[in-house]
Amino acid sequence: MRHIVSVLVEDHPRVLTRITALFARRGFNIESLAVGRTHQPGTSRIAFVVRGDDHTIEQVEKQLNRLVEVLKVTDHTEPHIERELALVKVHVAGLEERLEIREIAAAYRARTVDVARRALTFEVTGEPSKVESFIEQLRPYGLLETMRTGAVAMSRGVKALKPREKEAVREKEAV
């Protein structure tokens, strides 16, 4: 099963390394990974796509939660919004192809971001499957370059990914 998991982390150096190293060490295979800052200073949000059965996903979540800088982990199973952005550069052989390609792009609401005599570059956003299908449509013309951001995700409605509510921890005696 394909899962998209969001992770809210403290924005410290090496946090991403910690997370990817954890995946590598535990043998979890990441399909895509997107990272960026959030509106809250000091926190970043990571979205990754991973394939696995329930047991694997549970392990991924639990292992992530062990990391000190991980504030919250969500496996988006509830209704959610998922988007990916891609830049796609395709070869244009002649006028006829140019028209066909433009027609395909229009159908996918892809924006033309660069035009050259022998190439067109598009920006497309949408569900990863739409991005995938756009790329497949253009493949026969000769793909020159593609760059995908990896999926990002958010739950629908008012629900938001927030750190667990916590108090500053009082010192406790050891032993």
């Binding site: 982390v9 403290e10 150096p13 090496r14 390394t17 910690r18 190293a21 060490r25 047991h55 549970e58 392990q59 639990k62 292992q63 939660n65 062990r66 990391l67 000190v68 800088e69 991980v70 504030l71 750190p163 667990r164 916590k166 500053a168 921890v169 009082r170 010192e171 406790k172 050891a174 032993v175």
Partner: protein, 560 residues
Amino acid sequence: MNGAQALLQALIQEGVEHVFGHPGGAIMPVYDALYDAPIQHYLVRHEQAAAHAAAAYHRVSGRVGVCLATSGPGALNLVTGLADALMDSSAVVAITGNVPRALIGTDAFQEADVTGATMPVTKHNYLVTRADDLPRIVKEAFYIARTGRPGPVLIDIPKDVQLEAFTGAFPERVHLPGYRPTEEGHPRQIEKALAALEEAERPVLMVGGGARHAHAEIRAFAERTGIPVIPTLHGLGAFPGTHPQCLGMPGMHGTVAANRAVQYCDLILGIGLRFDDRVTGRLERFAPHARTIIHVDIDPAEVGKLVPTHIPVVGDAKQVTAELAAGARPLRLEGWWRTIRAWQEQYPLRIPERPYLQTPEVIRAFWEATGGEAIVTSGVGQHQMFVTQHYPFNKPRAWVTSGGLGTMGFGLPAAIGAQVARPDALVIDFDGDGSFQMTLQELATLVKYDLPVKVVILNNGFLGMVRQWQELFHARRYSEVYLADSNPDFAKLAAAYGIPGVRVERREDLAKGVDAVLGTDGPVVAEFRVHHEEGVFPMIPAGGSAEDMIVEDPREEVKA
């Protein structure tokens, strides 16, 4: 005050009294500050030993162990010790020096990416970039190391940060929004666990290292319910080994009764253990009749990791067991106990009758002579397994061994940490001739600080455990396991360090040898020459299950 002094101040505030370490250029400001600090430093001769000593210090005292190393090679020498501490849940704070900030990333002299290298072997680590952050980081590091599932935390401090003027504050509290261990078990889950127990006909209680601070609660619970108790390698001592309800260790070299009980039980209550493969064997064939598995652990990631868990209880072993004990009722287990007693009678742990001195005899002799009052550490190998079989630990925090990583060379450094933590205790390191030679330079540490550790080398002239596997699974092709042709004279070696040596070669001299060891005031190195080709049995071959157990030595006759 500079960063190094602030670091020392922060350590003192954490109650640190002892640290284990080895100096070098990049940690010199810390050593300079240490010169005036009311903290006793123990100079080890290899940083790996500092990490093991710190881990053992935690395991016997419950206090966080601290180790120090310089940058690059010094810090990397800690790696094995940290990995060992992570696997066996020992609370350790490691402090390493690094090259000055401006040189980081330039392949400077003795530079290594220590935070990178130790990421997979620590619970958490820090690279300190400002002296003012030091007290906060130290406070967090100690908090993380000792709470939740204990583990090692490393603090890497560039040299110029150690020298930087400190103008910061010493915080009273830690603020770690992403870290909040659950200590109290969910009451609903505890209720479910108790209900399941009442319905069980053949339950077993398995306890691991996570229960070592819960021995009183474990005992109360076990005695109230009458349940058979199976302590794992690190659980030995969490429940008295000579208690009639104790079946001994499960797993690869566990007792027949413990393994059969797990194989035929209908319920497992596991507290503070992680179902390691040395315990479970082939997972698909582990506890095939267990309809209910209840797993109590403070680390949620362990619950359900390997063994499917029906009733997970995330919480601290002490708290959860206390609640279980409070709610438990006596169980009717007469039939189950009859079965277990029959296994115990049929397959007791026997020492085969042989004409020569055997490791278990030496171990038992020490147990008898000390009344089981010692703190015991060990190397890794056959001798370690023989200790688990023949030395019934009755008290918690009296057994420190390397389980998860299985690190040869653990015994002597661990004995040092244990002796520092418990200066009045008798500390015995049961070691193999192979294991001992991996960290024997720490004899110097014994001498320097007059630590009266008794090193008992069970010299079989082989890397015995590997030899046993070669014997059983590789047609006795003894590839590169023979040591006797090049072992040192251990007594002379000890003498070179100024430590008295004892050597025993014959069974007749066993008692005298044991007396000589225990009668010596300071440190001793004793060598007991045991038979070359001993085997540890029972044994479940790797990847097998309880059904594949080899109960006794398959060799008819062992040549003397």
